[in-house]
Every structure is written in structure tokens, then in C-alpha cells.
Symmetry: C2
Subunit: 135 residues, 2 copies
DNA sequence: TATTGTTATACTCTATAACTATA
DNA sequence: TATAGTTATAGAGTATAACAATA
């Protein structure tokens, strides 16, 4: 049941992201940086369930677009501190608002009590460490 | 929230499927055939959200393993009627039982009311035509 | 020697376009 | 001419391994 739902939700996000000039991974990265920045790209990649080599092109694009900054950690010049810029925060909020507007429309299909429980359950399950699910 | 949950659930299914000698798509096809067989492979592919060319190798494997039959429709010799064999049904039930046992364990994290509402909401949303979600 | 970020390479998946056989 | 199934090819996405800089 989750698979077709996710497929449809991704399809719904696509035109919104395109309108904002963002890739799916770009949005995922910005979402991960929302709130707290991150000390290493490796940690960022692991957090979003991607390989460290996979996000480099994404970070390049986001940096070129002025949506985030990569600054070397003076204490360990190997590491690159990654943080959103103000423009990145604005962009992320705008995209998120567009996406959530559509999600609201979809969630309106549920009766209010189920909707609350659904989101609560989803939050609980998605926050579990993957090993708790794989066993 | 759905993306990481699905990733973890797929990771959990992988060893179970491997133990039964089934691929992910193989399991999806068997699940789709559970209950009613299908008159054409194209319809089957569309039903599971795949391209018709993508499931051919899967159908070959399942047929070679004796889990399904492909018989030509006498009324239209282009079409191939696809149906599970008894062994296919047994295999599907066995795999499904293993997978659901793990899902039960995960769902036990939710309190019973949320769990019921979660499954009900998921059934509602996953049954929507994709266009209802994309808008 | 180990780790961070990067690049290069290979591999897997998937989509698209031909091809056949039937209609 | 159109459709069902199949095959072949190309493209995207992903993982793996090698590399340079720093620790």
C-alpha cells in the first residue's frame, strides 16, 4: 500500500519542484539542513539515506544556486560545514508550502480522526531506526 | 516520512524474499495475481505500475519456477492468460506470512487505535487513482 | 594509517523504440 | 492499421572503487 502511495506523491511533487528549479534530492538535502546545519557531508548523506558520493553533484548545484554554503572546518580542514543560506531557507519554505498544500488536499479524503492518527503513526514509524524495522 | 519507512520495509523484505528464491517484482506479480488471474500481460503490468516490457523476465522466471501459467487466449491468440499455479499460491501465501509477521512486529509499536486508523487511512489513500493525488 | 571530499568506473534499473505474430 | 508480447538499445540512477588532501 505504501509503494503506490509514495509513487503518486513523488509524481505530484515533480512539477512543483521543476517550477522552483529544484531536483528531488536537492529538496531532500534542503529539508535535512532545515533547523540544524551539519558538520560533514558524510553525515548529511547518511542522514538522508544516500551515499556520500551521490550528494556531491546535488550540493554543487545548490551551492551554485546560492541556496547553501560549504565552509571548511578550521579545526579539521578535511570536513566541510554545510548550511543553508537565507535564500535557501526561503526557497525551502516556498517549495514545502506548495507541496504541503497538495498533501492537505489529499489528506482531506480522510476523516479528521483517522488523519490525525495516520500522521502520528507515520511520524512514529518513520522515526524508528531502520534496524528496528528490518529486525 | 513515507520514503524512509518504505526503504526500511523493503530492506526488511529482501532477506525473506531471497530465502524463498523470489525477486521483489516476482512477489509483486504474485500478489497482483492473488484472487483473480488476468487476461493480458499489459493489463497486469499497468495494474502494478510497471511497463509491459519490464515484467517479461519476471514472468519467465515465475513460469520456469512453476509458480504461474501463461496460456494463449483461443479467442485472441495474441493475448496470454496469466494465472498462478497451486504451487504459486502456496509460495505466495508463505512469503506473505513471513513478511506480515515482521510488519505485525513493527505495527506493535503503535497503540491499537492509531494502528487501526493508520491501516484504514493507508488503504484509503493507496486505493485512490494516482491522478487524484497528483491533482 | 584513517578519514573527508571528490572523481571515475561499472552496474543495475528503467524507459523507449523496434520487431513478430496475430487481429 | 492496430494490438499483445517480445527483444534490443539507450539512458538514468546508483553503488563501488580509486584518488588527493588532511589528520
Amino acid at each position: 500500500m505504501i509503494a503506490p502511495l509514495q509513487r503518486a506523491l513523488i509524481a505530484a511533487e515533480q512539477p512543483v519542484l521543476r517550477a522552483h528549479g529544484l531536483s528531488m534530492w536537492g529538496y531532500v538535502v534542503l529539508s535535512a539542513l532545515d533547523g540544524q546545519p551539519v558538520r560533514t557531508q558524510t553525515a548529511l548523506a547518511e542522514f538522508i539515506g544516500a551515499d556520500k558520493s551521490r550528494i556531491i553533484g546535488v550540493l554543487d548545484e545548490l551551492e551554485n544556486a546560492g541556496l547553501l554554503d560549504r565552509t571548511r572546518d578550521p579545526a579539521d580542514r578535511r570536513a566541510r560545514f554545510v548550511a543553508m543560506t537565507d535564500e535557501g531557507r526561503r526557497k525551502h519554505r516556498a517549495v514545502q508550502a506548495d507541496i504541503q498544500r497538495n498533501e492537505e488536499r489529499v489528506l482531506a479524503r480522510l476523516d479528521p480522526a483517522d488523519r490525525e492518527a495516520f500522521l502520528r503513526a507515520l511520524a512514529t514509524l518513520s522515526a524508528l531506526p531502520p534496524t528496528d524495522i528490518t529486525g
